[in-house]
């Protein structure tokens, strides 16, 4: 019984990668991506930071969260997630020495984003540690897919390069500004909606009429 529930839960948490993508469908960490995610390297660095913050905080919440008093909960999550910036600083430093300088304040803002603060206290506390870990992994995987795609697209159109290697001449430097980040994220979200629509059509009613408004 419990195992079955967990199995369904796993399926649900896999949905965080695509159909319940934390960025594009739930609309959670948009700002950091729109402003900070200007190259592929930045995207990878942001994803690593996010992974290192999300999984430990969620596991911590499901293990100890219930035993803490109300006032200490959020404080402990916030401090823990800020502390997790340190390992990510070392790992990302191996990609490129100046990556945290180029990202500015945005990786540290990940520490107080919605998932480690709100999601942990509202949902993760009621889950088993393993399940919370899988949930965290899937959420950060969904984040990573978005961040890497967006970073690659912006680096390609903005600099004509990928991972720092020049491959094309074309350049549209304004893509690196935050507003193009918002607009591109909007279009990516629209594509996800479109794909979801397609899947619904082929799955359930192949010749059913869609409602038009």
């Amino acid at each position: 019984m419990i195992a079955e529930k967990e199995k369904n839960g796993f399926k649900e948490s896999l949905a965080y990668i695509f159909s319940r993508n934390p960025v594009l469908v739930l609309g959670l960490v948009i700002g950091q991506l729109a402003a900070g995610d200007t190259t592929l390297q930045n995207g990878v660095a942001l994803s690593i930071t996010y992974l290192l913050i999300t999984v430990p905080v969620l596991v911590f919440a499901s293990v100890i969260g219930k035993k803490l008093p109300d006032w200490l909960k959020i404080v402990s999550y916030a401090v823990l997630s800020a502390a997790m910036l340190l390992p990510s600083y070392f790992i990302c430093g191996s990609i490129s020495a100046t990556i945290f300088d180029s990202l500015g304040i945005y990786p540290s803002l990940l520490a107080v984003s919605t998932v480690p603060i709100v999601f942990s206290s509202k949902i993760a506390e009621k889950q088993s540690p393993a399940f919370a870990a899988v949930n965290g992994l899937c959420i950060s995987a969904g984040f990573a897919v978005t961040a890497i795609l967006l970073g690659a697209a912006r680096e390609f159109f903005g600099n004509g390069s990928l991972w720092g290697f020049k491959i094309a001449e074309a350049s549209f430097p304004a893509v690196k500004l935050p507003f193009w980040g918002f607009i591109l994220l909007g279009f990516m979200a629209a594509i996800i909606n479109w794909v979801k629509d397609l899947i619904k059509k082929t799955d359930k009613n192949p010749d059913g009429e869609e409602e038009r408004v």
Binding site: L24, V25, G27, L28, V29, I30, G31, Q32, A34, A35, T38, W71, K73, I74, V75, A78, V79, A82, A83, L85, L86, Y89, F100, D101, G104, I105, P107, S108, L109, A111, V112, S113, T114, I117, V118, S121, P173, A174, K176, L177, P178, F179, W180, G181, F182, I183, L185, G186, F187, A189, A190, I191, N193, W194, D197, E210, V213
Partner: protein, 197 residues
């Protein structure tokens, strides 16, 4: 007098030129949360202002210690989160003791309202730009006013979008993001054209 002038310049800069949402892209998820609950906006802006001012005052002398550290990218946010934690705990117990009926109303969301990107962002930006104390506080107040301004602008647009014939795949998050992007484009016209290098 010069201090007052500096304060207001910094505040207006933070309010319009470096608007927290439109040019810095910080606090979007909270903004979308607040556009659906316009009644909470004023309370939230006041809370944001109070938290940034108090934490800025406490954090200003402390941040000199970690400024020149090699790990400042990690230590400064950690420092400010610790300061915010102190402010949060103080607010928590004060409200619980002196305003118990208010505490029932929003005591549970207080944590989420203190620890979010908008508050941390409006503390981190002045510290990374190395502003002095007056600048820091002016910047924080301008940032929180700018946040309220941004919420109002976006909520006008979102109510207007309900009556547009938005294509099905664009409804919801996508059109809100595109709308936000276009607004932030307009604010870039004021800033000028500082392309990132």
């Amino acid at each position: 007098m010069t201090y007052i002038f500096q304060f207001f310049t910094m505040m207006l800069t933070a309010l319009f030129v470096e608007n927290i949402v439109f040019t810095r892209a910080i606090g979007t998820s909270w903004m979308f949360y607040l556009t659906k609950r316009p009644k909470e906006l004023l309370r939230y802006v006041l809370l944001l202002m109070a938290v940034t001012t108090v934490s800025g005052l406490i954090g200003y002398p402390l941040r000199g210690i970690v400024y020149n550290s090699e790990f400042r990218h990690v230590l400064i946010p950690l420092l400010y989160i610790a300061v915010m934690a102190i402010v949060y705990l103080a607010a928590y117990f004060l409200i619980k003791k002196f305003l118990p009926d208010q505490f029932e109303h929003f005591g549970m969301t207080l944590g989420a309202a203190v620890f979010n990107c908008a508050t941390l962002g409006s503390l981190l930006i002045p510290s990374s730009e190395r502003l002095d104390l007056i600048g820091t506080i002016g910047y924080g107040i301008g940032m929180s006013l700018g946040f309220g301004f941004a919420v109002i602008m976006v909520s006008y647009g979102l109510t207007r979008l309900e009556y547009c014939r938005v294509p099905k795949i664009f409804r919801g998050i996508p059109i809100a993001l595109i709308y936000l992007g276009l607004l932030s484009l307009a604010f870039y016209g004021l800033v000028g054209h500082q392309l990132p290098t």
